[in-house]
Subunit: 516 residues, 2 copies
């Protein structure tokens, strides 16, 4: 979820200054149009890591926009009056009326998350609250409200640095409270709980927007552009039912820096070294799938990647280590007529593995948000909704004990060209290269954006994506194998995950684990 917000986006001072006047003018325009039309309210939620610029953003919005048309509410602990009533009561009271922009600084999400983190509520209550919030937001959207939810993000290191910087300067030291440092200590838990909460509430009708909070210029411009794009889209819609089916537009990173581009695709690894490690890892994988506790789990591996990135080769290196009776490779192509007559996820549900078994998908349900999005086979409202549906599907697999791992094999355009040409020259590999491959190649940039959006929206602790630098096939195969072994080991040998990091499980409070 936080991947793209952790790669260090930034915008230089000059670009910022150059972009600002037009943005501010446009924002004022839509704000007045909102007031003029007066037929729906806008609700902006500001959340995120302490020190990631939430307060600054709040002030900025009040400076950029006409503050007379903004209702800002900062929610702290509920007072006695609120405590005596249903917990959502104080949020209902502060909703912005039609034609106005309401900004909630902290909201029901903070209540639910910190009650859980502070041990005042159970995992079940946390989940129930998220469900209540979903129904609440659905009701608001059905009523016409445009909801935009910002999560301002920092890595743990960035947060530390930021708090220290603020403390050093006497002019900003007051901004840092002991509570901030306490949250810094809780960083890993907060990140995990937030990810869980965001996944469950990242609906198409009220999506979260992740903001890299490190660089003030980038952060501020992005917030402004997101707000502008969402408002413009909403103001254009006339039919209320259409508004209910629309989701806020995805604004691509303003500095054009994409997660995929941060990968060092060329990794060195000699064949000799590869062969030694390969044997070692395959042995390890084989032992792990024969682990007695694996009988209570299953393994779901998803392979996606650029054409000719080596998915098949990586898959074979895994299946070589597995008992042929206990795994299945499912190659995914365009849906058949039978499959098209069903809900789109149907053909993948069929292949959910039983306990003690592995299913390896060579391409997968992610086609919905890759090829179907890029080629226009699915309507925007449908592929936007698919992120949530996918997370729900993988959640159900994981709840049933499945260890779900997803790999994106990335190669450079040059490397792809080399491989295409080599395939065309090698007779027995010629079937592997088609006109479609060449066509996809022309839409390289569209796919790149779709891949980054996909990872941002569907990489969860329950079902993480691993980006694999695959210009060197040997390196790629080993990275995949190692990731699978590590995840299995964490789950089978240490119980509920390694307790942190991307593969860690969501904190389970005082409840007993649901599996094992």
């Amino acid at each position: 979820m936080f991947e793209s917000a952790e790669i260090g986006h930034s915008i230089d001072k000059d670009s910022y200054k150059a972009a600002l006047p037009a943005l501010r003018e446009a924002l004022l325009d839509v704000q007045y149009e909102l007031k003029e039309k007066g037929d729906f309210p806008v609700l902006v939620l500001i959340h995120g890591i302490d020190g990631a610029g939430r307060g600054e953003t709040l002030n900025l919005l009040n400076e950029w926009l006409d503050p007379r048309l903004i209702d800002t509410v900062a929610f702290d602990q509920p007072n006695d009056e609120a405590r005596a009533r249903p917990w959502m009561w104080r949020y209902w009271r502060e909703l912005p009326p039609k034609g106005r922009l309401g900004i909630f600084f902290g909201s029901y999400y903070s209540d639910a998350m910190f009650d859980y983190l502070d041990g005042n509520s159970s995992k079940d209550r946390f989940d129930r609250q998220i469900s209540e919030v979903q129904r609440f937001e659905h009701m608001l959207v059905n009523d016409g409200t445009l909801i935009i939810k910002f999560w301002f993000h920092l890595t743990r290191e960035q947060q530390k640095k930021r708090l220290k910087t603020l403390e050093k300067d006497p002019a900003t030291a007051w901004r840092v409270s002991p509570g901030d440092w306490q949250h810094y200590e809780q960083y890993a838990e907060i990140r995990k709980s937030a990810e869980h909460m965001i996944r469950l509430s990242n609906t198409a009708y009220a999506p979260w927007v992740m903001i890299d909070g490190q660089d003030a210029n980038y952060r501020s411009l992005t917030v402004g552009q997101v707000l502008l794009a969402a408002l413009r889209q909403r103001l254009q819609l006339d039919h209320p039912y259409l508004a209910r089916s629309e989701s806020a537009p995805i604004v691509p990173p303003l500095d054009n820096k994409l997660l995929l581009e941060t990968l060092a695709l060329d990794q060195a690894l000699s064949k000799d070294e590869y062969l030694v490690k390969l044997e070692e890892l395959q042995g390890r994988l084989n032992r792990l799938t024969r682990h007695p506790r694996f009988a209570h789990h299953s393994l779901v591996l998803v392979f996606e990647g650029n054409d000719a990135a080596g998915k098949g080769g990586s898959i074979r290196r895994i299946t070589q280590a597995l008992d042929a009776r206990r795994y299945r490779v499912v190659p995914v192509a365009a849906p058949t007529e039978e499959e098209r007559a069903q809900p789109w996820l149907w053909r993948f549900w069929r292949h959910a593995p039983g306990k003690g078994r592995s299913t390896i998908f060579d391409r997968s349900w992610y086609g919905r948000v890759l090829v179907e999005r890029v080629e226009g086979f699915a309507a925007e409202a449908d592929w936007m909704r698919a992120y949530y549906e996918i997370n729900d599907f993988e959640h159900q697999l994981a709840e049933n004990g499945a260890i779900v791992l997803k790999f994106w094999l990335a190669i450079s355009q040059d490397e792809q060209l080399k491989r295409f040409q080599a395939r065309e020259e090698t007779g027995f590999k010629r079937f592997k290269i088609t006109d479609e491959d060449w066509r996809n190649r022309e839409r390289w940039d569209d796919y790149k954006r779709a891949v980054c959006d996909m990872i941002d929206r569907t990489s969860t602790s329950q079902a993480p994506w691993t980006l694999v630098e695959a210009n060197n096939k040997y390196f790629a195969r080993l990275k995949v194998l190692r990731t699978v072994c590590d995840a299995l080991e964490a789950r089978l040998e240490n119980g509920k995950g390694k307790g942190g990091g991307r593969n860690g499980e969501h904190k389970n409070g005082n409840d007993k684990p649901e599996h094992d």
Copy 2:
């Protein structure tokens, strides 16, 4: 929820035979049109009380319709293959493809409910499963599926009679299994759990349809008409987004027998008797609201009824017994401009009482599904959705400890006329009668239908409706007072409700109660 299915609907043999040919022909027509169009599937779920005619209906549908275009699946206990996978897996597998009608006899609802009733899952898991099911059905509807969920109902007495009748006849004795009698023993629990489940899953996009299961003719014709109306509506819609916002049409009772008409509106009670009882009940109410445990609760009373039915008088008899510092009467009229700028429930949320307090609504949020429906102030999609939103609102009040009681004061048309005329003749009461009252009176039948639909969809164990026969004011006032006292007493003195009946609480499994 089950009110209208318990008043003994029936259709005589001749009417049944007369209606059948046209219905069957029309059903076949829409079935072929569905196949022809081939762009969406229909999913029919059959649930209900044992003996209420589920099996007969299933056979009938296969007889009436072209069975080659029907996929019937009866779900029993999951087999090993299904048990090794996420619990929804076996339902995904059996989904009907586009252009076809799938009938699930038993479904995920039975799994969730009986796992809970048999002690195999907790209340929290039950609720979580209902949430999962909601997301699943939402996904199906977004994908185009038309979902119709039938609940075949019987009262406990009817169920007993039905099972005995079946047992007596050697030709049908095989239909009664020991499991049926066991469910009969569990009747109260099944009814409560079903009500809870239906309330949480009675969404506008996939609503439940209650069928009185006692009379075979009535039951069969109703199922046929509901199916026909839903399919016809769906086949007319072209824009997929519109289909997502529509809900199945409400089919009024085929025998024209309405819940409201079962009331004996004229009840005898002398003034002397009234005055004695009034004092007694008011004393009891006063003591109850001073009960130490009331500090953890609140009281929410809703008064709706025909114009001139005596709402104000009943309310005064209650407030006379309350401490003026601890209650508030909220008269509800048309929304103000400020209120119209907010989501429609906003103006009611504001008045949620704090702990230890009472709020009495003289008219209420039910205006949404009464006057706004009848007068066309709200679009059908909006007032249809309101039933769910209302249940959700009252659920949140109840979860917070509120005792929510709703009263419909019913008078006859003749009695209303008398009261209108009397008001016009009495100078100081003249303000009480307006042109609007006379206009509403002209739409008497529309209101009657709206009231019955409202009660069927929003009377829950957490927030039950009480129908009050109000031609005799004295009787009405005492019935209201007594109902309030009984409910308070059950909650305050016996802990979590009286454990059964309409005011009983939903079974709480092994979880600790959330309040008290």
